[in-house]
């Protein structure tokens, strides 16, 4: 069977790849959007945190025999703690300044973290086995679906929707939205906004850490995996619009799928299609698809 002269099997497997990439875009751009909303900082270190998540998983398994499942549970909080340390010692001094300073600081941090891992582990990438339980494929009739990829999409969606639910539907989320919109007044109601800012950064980078663990069996633990991904993720955030939670989730998934489809129909454009879309969106809606003009 063929669609537009492309075998269904090929189309479906590219779609699946697109969905996997899209899951990573979604989970990373979600973290970036939450952090930007609360801290007013464009977190360039996000890719490095994602990479650190993958490496922590690899180190855990290699040095201490910590299984994938434990890594999935332990690495995100560990990365979150690193984030909290960064927020406490460095970022907090920049909140009153222009975005540019936060961007420069986190960019510098990203370079340092990446440089450290390159120095320690080289640039070739370290293989990480897919856990036994998730090895192999499922036969869907029209295609073979690798179990691990389905798992990645599922876990990412769960993490994204869980975050969306907490922010949009709970009391804690209402504090968060209020503090994002008007931090001073929110603090004047007795809410400890500086604490929330710290935890938000920790949570945002913990999401990146989670993405890193999920990515390790697919892309290996590679010091440059973050910087390869982060530029696209920023484009996703720009397209979706800063500050919209559902917007970043949907845009992330959507763009992953579009990228996958482009690979099937015109593979030369697959690495640029996201940026072409970004330019088009910016011309029509400067605040992004889901963003509000400020």
């Amino acid at each position: 069977m063929e669609i537009f002269g492309v075998p269904v099997q090929a189309l479906m497997s590219q779609l699946m790849l697109g969905l996997v990439n899209g899951s990573f875009y979604a989970i990373l751009s979600l973290g970036l959007a939450v952090i930007f909303g609360m801290l007013n900082i464009i977190n360039f270190a996000h890719g490095a945190m994602y990479m650190a998540g993958a490496f922590l998983a690899w180190m855990g398994l290699t040095y201490w025999g910590i299984s994938y499942w434990w890594s999935l549970l332990l690495v995100p909080p560990a990365v979150g703690l690193v984030g909290i340390a960064i927020e406490r010692t460095m970022l907090r001094w920049l909140y009153q300044l222009d975005h540019l300073y936060g961007l420069l600081l986190t960019f510098g941090l990203a370079l340092m973290i990446e440089g450290l891992f390159l120095y320690l582990y080289g640039s070739s990438g370290l293989p990480y086995e897919v856990p036994d339980m998730l090895g192999g494929t499922i036969n869907l009739g029209f295609m073979f679906l690798p179990k691990y990829r389905a798992w990645v999409v599922g876990v990412s969606l769960l993490a994204c929707l869980g975050t969306w639910y907490v922010i949009e539907k709970t009391r804690l989320g209402a504090y968060l939205r209020a503090a994002t919109e008007n931090p001073r007044l929110t603090q004047a109601f007795g809410i400890n906004v500086p604490l929330m800012v710290m935890l938000t950064y920790g949570f945002g980078v913990a999401l990146a850490g989670l993405a890193g663990v999920l990515a390790a069996p697919i892309y290996q633990a590679d010091p440059q995996m973050g910087s390869k991904l982060i530029i696209v993720v920023f484009a996703v955030v720009v397209i979706g619009g800063m500050g919209s939670i559902m917007g970043s989730i949907l845009t992330g998934l959507g763009l992953g799928v579009i990228e996958g489809l482009t690979k099937v129909f015109y593979s030369e454009a697959s690495s640029t299609v996201v940026f072409v879309i970004m330019v088009c969106v910016l011309m029509v809606r400067p605040a992004g698809l889901f963003g509000r003009e400020k």
């Binding site: 919109e181 004047a188 007795g190 809410i191």
Partner: protein, 236 residues
């Protein structure tokens, strides 16, 4: 009559916004259960006084005693937790929160706050619009919401900034009744007002603020004899 207990005492309060020195030694007292009004022209420093009490200005010096504790060095949220409810001049309704989420936002800072039912009984409009986006409410409704928001948290000292501003006379009347009702319930109220006619019947005492200082004190019983002075001073 009981001797009044001091609830808020502001002494020699100076406050700055960046380089500009706005308050030049404010001194005043609000006793428990009193309604005290700060009157003055625009830019006299009344709003800044409320903001300085909550630590929302830049640098501050002097002393702010709240229920016997000096709060000048505390961070904003700790001050609020001592039992202050703040209704800002710009109302401060959140657009990313629904009407009811706005209402539920301030955490409990004391006991004896009103329940949601009591608040909706007092402001029936808000009950009708509980699921609307906060900033979709009309101006009057937003003001009601900003007032109602500080009544739920159990705050004992209410800082109310220009609550009658820009509202239809009938709503201003309603607000006056709300304030009277709150006084009967034992709330302590610091009312910043431009509208002398609104504040005069409600306030036990009025401080006239000029150039970031208290220029005169007028007690309720002196109101008649000083009316002329006030009208001239406030330009009403």
């Amino acid at each position: 009559m009981n001797t009044p207990t001091e609830y808020l005492r502001v002494t020699g309060l100076h406050a700055f916004y960046g380089e500009s020195h706005v308050l030049h030694g404010m001194d005043f007292v609000v006793n428990r259960g009193e309604c005290v009004s700060l009157l003055g022209r625009n830019g006299a420093g009344r709003t800044t006084t409320l903001r300085a009490i909550l630590g929302l200005t830049g640098k501050r010096t002097g002393s702010i005693m709240l229920n016997g504790r000096d709060t000048i060095a505390m961070p904003t949220h700790r001050i609020a937790r001592l039992g202050i409810g703040y209704c800002p001049e710009e109302r401060g309704i959140y657009s990313s929160l629904s009407c009811e989420e706005n209402l539920l936002l301030p955490p409990q800072v004391g006991s004896g706050g009103m329940s949601l039912e009591e608040i909706y009984a007092m402001f029936p409009n808000l009950a009708e619009r509980r699921h609307s986006q906060g900033t979709r409410l009309s101006g009057g409704e937003q003001q009601m919401l900003a007032m109602a928001r500080v009544l739920r948290s159990g705050a004992q000292l209410l800082l109310l900034d220009e609550i009658s501003e820009g509202l239809a006379p009938v709503i201003v009347q309603q607000l006056g009744q709300v304030i009277r009702h709150l006084k009967e319930q034992g709330f302590t109220i610091l009312l910043v007002e431009q509208n002398f006619r609104f504040a005069a019947p409600l306030a036990d005492r009025m401080y006239v603020v000029e150039h970031g200082q208290v220029a005169a004190v007028i007690h309720q019983h002196e109101l008649e004899e000083k009316r002329e002075f006030l009208q001239e001073f406030l330009g009403v």
